[in-house]
Symmetry: C2
DNA sequence: GGATAATGTGAACACCGTACACATGCGCGG
DNA sequence: CCGCGCATGTGTACGGTGTTCACATTATCC
């Protein structure tokens, strides 16, 4: 069993896994370096061999969360059946992405919060999927398929991004309006987005 | 000068003022009870005579920040000139509200963040203006003036709210897309919102 | 195999939120 | 006018936090 080797093997990965668990169950605010290192079975100071500060591990789990969200969007997009005209299909794929974005936030509010937490530390970007690019790609697809006029193409990304991001924040936040029907709101906003860019 | 009276007079108000200053300059995360009480010239424990916990202070400044935002929206709405048809005027007032929402967030990002911070403590609502109601009132105004069809009235609030709230979050957050022209983005989103509900 | 870099330990510091017993002074009933 | 009660502020303490630094241990490479 090797009992307890002095060196952990892959402490960085283990700390990030533990951090993701904490975020999933208790939110990003509950993330404590001492808890993380204790969960992994290591001394608090050991974390500093892999992360310069707590903010850096927060930034790391934020990036992982964003990638998680982007993967959900891609999966939803690729799950729409390849039926109908290219135009209708491009719209269906776009709307699937929008639904996935908000549904991910509703299903995993703490992860979504962590994904867009404002952290003082900035990490260099990775090669992994990013929500923004998934969205713009879907809009390009619609433009090519003739589902939206070329004149709207420029403003479409920010309009779509703002709509789904705003709804996600509203539905996961404390300032949720008196409306209750979550799925209805999502459908209304996604439809509204398409109407405003088409 | 009365030197230092044992009793402060209005500690609660003084603490909240100090808290708002901290939020304005360093964000809600930097808010510390010890700093607040030190700034006011009082012992840390004194704060607990007025707030059950730090979270309650945060909830209070969050509410104040939301009221601040709502006041900006009202001011912008009431500043639009009373010219043109009632229909055009209702649209102008609506768009002014949208612009004010996002511009407030861009101008005071830390206050905006504080306004919608997810805090575990919930405060009972006050009589003060709330952004949601300002927005729905503007939409009702447009409906009555015939600026938007009655069929769209039901979904209009969530669509508008999601759009401006999302854009505000995007422009103030770390995950800002490569686009730079802030005013252009605001105009595009506000116009897009009106297009999608009209 | 021995130097050297990488990694984990232990103790310490400063700070934080919070609790509790105590000091102080305002305001109201006599 | 007095004095008592209650609201308010003080002092001290506890447990928890991020972070640092000297030191111990192990992996790696010449």
């Amino acid at each position: 069993m090797a009992a307890k080797p002095y060196h952990h093997g892959d402490l960085e990965r283990a700390l990030l896994d533990a951090a993701i668990d904490v975020v999933r169950s208790d939110g990003i605010a509950a993330l404590s370096l001492r808890d993380l290192t204790k969960a992994v079975g290591v001394t608090p100071s050991a974390a500093y061999r892999h992360f310069p500060s707590r903010d850096h591990v927060i930034a790391a789990v934020a990036m992982l969360s964003r990638e998680d969200l982007a993967r959900h969007m891609l999966a939803a997009r690729d799950a729409v059946p390849a039926r109908g005209s290219a135009q209708r299909r491009s719209v269906a794929r776009f709307e699937a992405i929008g639904h996935a974005y908000v549904e991910f936030a509703v299903a995993h509010p703490t992860v979504f919060e962590a994904a867009f937490t404002a952290c003082p530390v900035q990490l260099e970007r990775t090669e992994d999927p990013r929500a923004w690019e998934v969205l713009t790609a879907a809009i390009d697809e619609m433009t090519l398929a003739g589902a939206i006029p070329a004149a709207r193409r420029q403003d479409a990304p920010i309009i779509a991004w703002a709509g789904v991001h705003g709804l996600a924040n509203i539905l996961t936040g404390a300032a949720v309006p008196p409306g209750i029907d979550v799925d209805g709101q999502i459908a209304a906003v996604v439809k509204g987005i398409y109407r405003s860019i088409s």
